[in-house]
Symmetry: C2
Subunit: 468 residues, 2 copies
């Protein structure tokens, strides 16, 4: 270890309690983005982050756009054009705290209990992104950053990062980088550092099936009308075969196959079928027999029914023959599936299978492609080495079943991979009551970011191999 | 025609406008049974009917039970034990009038416009049962009833006649009769008198399919969980084959076959597939190919989905993998299907077809058997002859797809058929805004009841053939 690394690690240790107090200040701001009444708090949090970036010495600190839900930007490019450039991502906005009655303490008055800090936003994402910024502070305090750093902390993640794609597209030069460091993903366990290298995409639809012009009396008309609720069920039932494979024509055509090396990597993840069953409470695990349950939930595309509605659903009996039935249907996508093509697959299936006795209507509500990062890139190797140094174990390489819009946006618009490494743990209650973050893991995480920035030094844009 | 018949018909003509005024009084009482705030109006209507029965000279007039929703009873048994005994059914309770804003005039201020009387309850069922009572008045005014008559006008029909079965069971002797005259069914057209000889039964269920212990994130868990909404759809889709036949094991076992004579009778009904399609607005008629559409909606059992619910059904996208899914499923039954056995059929189907990846729960909500009356009984023949006399055409013999609880209850508890002949027309807006009744048809109906009672005379309990 160089003197610089040692000094930065020492600084982080010395300032531990100030770091936590300062994080507490940020956690105390209820920067909920999902409801308009917290607009002032969103502003307050954005300005807090901007002020912090200025204080540790970043340049060109700005709020984009300065009005609602600003994105906070700051940079330090003094490492020079030969050094790699890292874009640091984070989000200062949080989910609403309700149901409030389920919190043991005030969600916006952070408290520390048994080594955990409890507050809304503790683990999603204020704690993790502040760990990256504290790592920068620790390094800057003792000298110059070994790489160029651009920091982008947004305020719309919990409402879908809807304006972010446009911002990235309009600021390609500002954000130009070699890769993004994204601390908005989780760890499998406190003692198992985790690199999330792939996220699934999403294509979300609403399907409506129409039958009679209005609700009918099921006694008077039943028997000669193709019930639209039944017709919808028939269509949905046909979307999977008996083995759980999706039947939409062409659905799997562009799926990038899993190679044996990657399957072996995923098989190392210490999450068993029994654990999955205990966690979900399902009577039995389900799905494509030729893939492990973990591959099914992370590396394979899916088609899920998210909602169903038709006719009478209150308590009791009403003999209605419904005029229509509705389903919310979404597909999780993997590389290299194209959401637009998935819509075509679904339309083709419906055209081929819907009976002439009903009419149907398909609307796309949301879409986003999957993302995958090269597990062997110099940036991933720099992170792997940093984690091995801090934890003393090889990190897990994890694919995640959900979607993180910014990762896909950066890949599609800037053409860069993300190194997704945060410290959220499975029991951190992200989005739920009593959200918390494990402070010991967070400190290790902070230390690993310090190592990571130094490991990157000398990698240049060309992406040479890191020495292991 | 005998002098007595002529005199009674003459009396009815003479008193036409007083009959309508008096019906107007009854229609002005908002005897809505479905909401508790009309309790006083229910009482008022019951007492109005009882007073009328006393006024025309019926004996033993009573309210059972005298408190809430009383059933009004009265009798005239002076024809003696050799003459047939008719139980006259009717109901004085009505549906709520809302949506009030869709009524052109006050639903409880009857008005006559273009030969139609408009009011809530006009056609369902105050007008039709008063036609029977006016027929009795017309006959009584000129002498003695040719048959024994027991009148039973209930106040709970619109809330399912829930207490009626018990009342019938506890008053078998009081209600003992040869058959029931039920004016609570409709006519196919103003110039086509109609005898409804069969009604379908009902078995109504709620099916719940359970998957994970709670709603899951469809990105994080999707692919290894058998989605309960999908599983429900798979189960429902399998309940019919590709030809619209129900697949539940044993479902059709007890269905009484339709003979050629009855099929020919049903084929006479002037309701075409084109009319059905125009009325319902369906793109195409559906169902068992070996039966006509009319047989399918009246003489064949069905399985309908009345409601579907799972997960997220609001506007927009929520990526939930639901914990459960629910369907309301009901079967219309025909003679001689047993509702209890239908539940077993459904349970067997579910046991055989539900995957081990989900759990299911089936609850029966409502049940009632189908009913069918002998089309060749002396009572039906007496009615047929009466209608032919008044309208000059042979009546249509109609099966109805819906259920009328009292008809089944009388068949099961007292062992008697019902002659179901009312004057509600398809455009009378029963249960809807601007309910009305056609006064010309109503007068013919009243006349036909007079003929009917005289035609019955001399039939005795033995049920000899009426001379045609």
């Amino acid at each position: 270890m160089t003197n610089a690394v040692t000094a930065a690690l020492e600084y982080a240790k010395t300032h531990r309690s100030r770091f936590i107090d300062q994080l507490g200040e940020l956690l105390a701001i209820p920067s909920v983005s999902t409801t308009p009444e917290h607009q002032a708090d969103i502003q307050k949090a954005a300005h807090w982050v901007a002020a912090y970036l200025e204080k540790i010495g970043l340049q060109n600190v700005q709020l984009y756009p300065p009005d609602s839900h600003p994105l906070v930007y700051g940079e330090d490019l003094r490492a020079g054009p030969e050094a790699p450039t890292v874009l640091v991502y984070g989000h200062y906005d949080v989910q609403p705290a309700d149901p409030l009655e389920k919190w043991h303490t005030d969600p916006f008055k952070p408290v520390i209990r048994e080594g955990q800090i409890y507050a809304r936003g503790a683990t999603d994402n204020k704690g993790p992104f502040m760990a990256v910024l504290y790592a920068l502070e620790a390094i800057l305090n003792n000298g110059q950053l070994p790489v160029n750093v651009k920091v982008m902390i947004e305020g719309q993640e919990e409402i879908g990062s809807s304006a972010l794609a446009q911002f990235i597209a309009e600021n390609k030069k500002l954000l130009a980088c070699d890769f993004c460091l994204n601390p908005d993903t989780g760890m499998l366990a406190p003692d198992l550092p985790t690199i999330t290298y792939a996220l699934r995409g999403l294509a979300y639809f609403e399907l409506k099936v129409y039958g009679p012009a209005q609700d009918l009396h099921s006694g008077v008309f039943g028997g000669a009308v193709h019930n639209p609720a039944q017709a919808l069920c028939e269509l949905i039932a046909g979307m999977h075969d008996a083995h759980g494979r999706i039947t939409l024509p062409g659905f799997y055509e562009d799926v990038r196959p899993l190679d044996e090396e990657e399957r072996a990597e995923l098989a190392r993840i210490p999450f068993t079928e029994e654990m999955f069953q205990a966690r979900t409470g399902v009577p039995q695990v389900w799905g494509e027999p030729e893939f492990t349950f973990y591959e099914r939930i992370t590396a394979r595309p899916t088609l899920e029914i998210n909602g169903l509605y038709s006719g009478f659903i209150e308590a009791g009996a009403k003999t209605v023959l419904p005029a229509y039935a509705l389903a919310k249907i979404s597909c999780r996508l993997v590389p290299d599936q194209d959401p637009a093509k998935i819509k075509t697959c679904l339309e083709t299936y419906l055209s081929e299978n819907a009976a002439a006795t009903i009419r149907w209507e398909l609307t796309e509500l949301v879409h986003g492609a999957a993302s995958i990062s090269d597990r062997h890139s110099p940036w991933v190797r720099a992170m792997q080495k940093a984690q091995e140094t801090v934890w003393g174990v090889r990190p897990a390489f994890k694919r995640e079943g959900g979607s993180v819009p910014v990762v896909t946006q950066l890949q599609q618009i800037l053409g860069v991979d993300s190194v997704n490494v945060g410290c959220a743990l499975p029991d951190d209650n992200m989005h739920g009551p009593n959200e918390k973050m494990n402070l010991a893991v967070w400190e290790k995480s902070l230390a690993s970011y310090i190592h990571f920035f130094y490991n990157l030094a000398g990698q240049g844009q060309a992406g040479e191999q890191v020495d292991r």
